[in-house]
């Protein structure tokens, strides 16, 4: 277990623009932190700086209070699982797992013990004599994790380790990595672009965009209390609906979209702000309604059945919303009456895209 601190860390390649900007992040002992974001957001670069595979332009990284900026990767007491596994093709699984211990001069008996323990944990005992070319994707993944386990490092790093697996195997391996974290209770930093992996694995999730940290929070907090429109749109599938409109205080506190076709009562929210605003509603919070008050009409342009649920693509005046309703919901051919509970409405500043807290409405 180890504590990791990123203090004001920036990264720049030559004279090109910075790819990481003043990163401040503290990862606690035994925490499982997931870095998530779209391609090019800087999540892998952040992980590689922590691993020592990239230099740090500014700031410092501390592992257990020790500055590691100038330390060689082998001296940082970390282990890393790569996206393409990076198993040495000319070595057997045993040799792959044992190599790091061998070069560190660990006695042979101890190497065998550790490799066998890792193989037991991952259920790969029968693969030890095989070469990587003779393994399936899932088996390679396990061996790559095993290679990290035998080191008994302070920190485990994962760089999109599941992205080369098919969907079914990915779900299985996701669960196994989660279980492994519980079993080893080690500090783990995991990079992915898949929000489902981030939400299911991370004790905290770091959402990144263009080299800036957007929000660091536990998964459900990210979902329920996104810091800005980017996080709100990135976390959740389908993403949060955004409707541009105005917040009015007279005759009653309400949100009205551009043509008045969507009016939401916001009377229950303390209001200190009027004028242009962006309303955010999650698809799962849109509900079919029979009552007229606080509801609005929407025309379904497309319906996608997902088995247990339906995805509704709805036109509300100039706005397009996506709703998620149970498969047995009474959907006719005509317009639908919808509502959204006040507690699930989120408001964002149209200029800064930051979420407005209750006191700012």
């Amino acid at each position: 277990m180890a504590e990791i601190v990123f203090s004001n860390v920036s990264k720049q390649y030559g004279r090109s623009p910075r790819v990481i900007h003043d990163l401040e992040l503290k990862i606690g002992h035994g925490e499982f932190v997931v870095l998530v974001g779209p391609s090019g957001c800087g999540k892998s670069t952040t992980l590689r700086m922590l691993a020592g595979l990239e230099t740090i332009t500014e700031g410092e990284i501390l592992i257990d209070g020790r500055r590691v900026n100038e330390l060689h990767p082998r001296d940082r007491d970390i282990a890393m699982v790569f996206q393409n596994y990076a198993l040495y093709p000319h070595m057997t699984v045993y040799q792959n797992m044992a190599l790091s211990l061998k070069v560190r001069g660990i006695p042979k008996g101890e190497i065998t013990r550790r490799v066998k323990y890792a193989a037991d944990v991952l259920g790969i005992q029968e693969l030890l004599d095989r070469r990587p070319a003779e393994l399936s994707g899932g088996q390679k993944q396990r061996v790559a994790v095993g290679r990290a386990i035998v080191r008994e490092p302070k920190v485990f790093l994962f760089d999109e380790p599941l992205s080369n697996l098919d969907t079914q195997l990915r779900v299985q391996m996701r669960a196994e990595i989660g279980a492994l974290h519980k079993r080893l209770n080690a500090t783990m930093v995991y990079v992915t672009h898949d929000q489902v992996e981030a939400m299911t694995l991370g004790s905290r999730v770091v959402v990144m965009r263009d080299g800036f940290v957007q929000q660091v929070a536990p998964p459900m907090e990210l979902f329920n209390e996104p810091a800005n429109m980017f996080v709100a749109g990135f976390i959740g599938s389908p993403p949060m609906n955004f409707v541009t409109g105005t917040l009015r205080r007279h005759p009653s506190s309400s949100f009205v979209n551009r043509d008045g076709s969507l009016v939401c009562n916001v009377a229950g929210i303390p209001s200190g702000r009027e004028g242009d605003i962006v309303l955010g509603i999650r698809p799962e919070h849109l509900r079919l309604s029979e009552r007229g008050e606080g509801s609005f009409m929407a025309v379904p342009s497309r319906i996608e059945p997902l088995g247990s649920e339906l995805l509704l693509y709805l036109d509300v005046g100039p706005d397009r919303l996506v709703g998620r309703v149970p498969a047995d919901a009474p959907i006719g051919d005509g317009p639908l009456r919808l509502t959204c509970p006040i507690e699930h409405l989120r408001f964002f500043d149209p200029q800064t895209e930051r979420r407005l807290s209750s006191g700012q409405h």
Partner: protein
Amino acid sequence: MPLGRIVFFVAAALLAAAFVLPMLYAVLSSLKPIEEITKVPLQWLPENLDSLRPNNYTEPLARYKFGGYIANSIFVGGLVTLSSLIFCTMAGYSLSKFSYFGRDAFFMVVLMTLMIPLEVTFIPMLIIVRKLEMMNSYWGLIIPVMIAPFGVFWMRQFIMTIPNDYAEAARIDGLNEFQIFGRIIFPMCKPALGALGILTFMSNWNSLIWPLIVARNRDLWTIPVGLISFQSEYFKPLNFIFAMAVVSVLPTIFLFALVRRRLLEGIGMVGIKG
């Protein structure tokens, strides 16, 4: 059978014949007495079994020290191939995986030297070898050709296809840069090394002019120099020349058969045709 396939097979058969027939002619001629070889019109098969001359093989080995030439060719070719594999891979690794000042300029120089015929470099090479007092020695035969620009280019192209993740994983595993090269990168280059090895060995095996210039001492002669030495102004023992030419080709055929698959794999993986 479609016309395209027929044309393909005919063309392939003609091409194969163009390579096989001279070899077949050499093998048959190597068993004939010299009078039959020089006979006009050309005669493919020996006239009768009694006229077969197996001593075409044994006599040069005994009388002209041809066994020594073969040993020299194996020794020089083997060492040049080994050093070429090691140093070209090191250079290729450096040029493909490390960033440093002047790297690309250096690679351009390597590429440019590929375009200069070897013969053009003989005079400067000879001057250097003389100054280093390596004339008439194995060093003079080996050191100037220990690393070839083609080999550097070949290995660079191959190593570029190896993802950086392997070296990075090894760095995290605790290997130093020499261990990464020796334990990870070099073994991963096997397909390209097989191809480069056989190409280097064959080119060295067939090399005539450089050994002819450097090796004045008969004890240092290689096979091509030995074959040339058979000829004098007035006498050309074609029977011995054919027999020894067949002997000299055998190791390369054996080597090719041994690494044929790896050679083809290597050519495919490097993505350039040799």
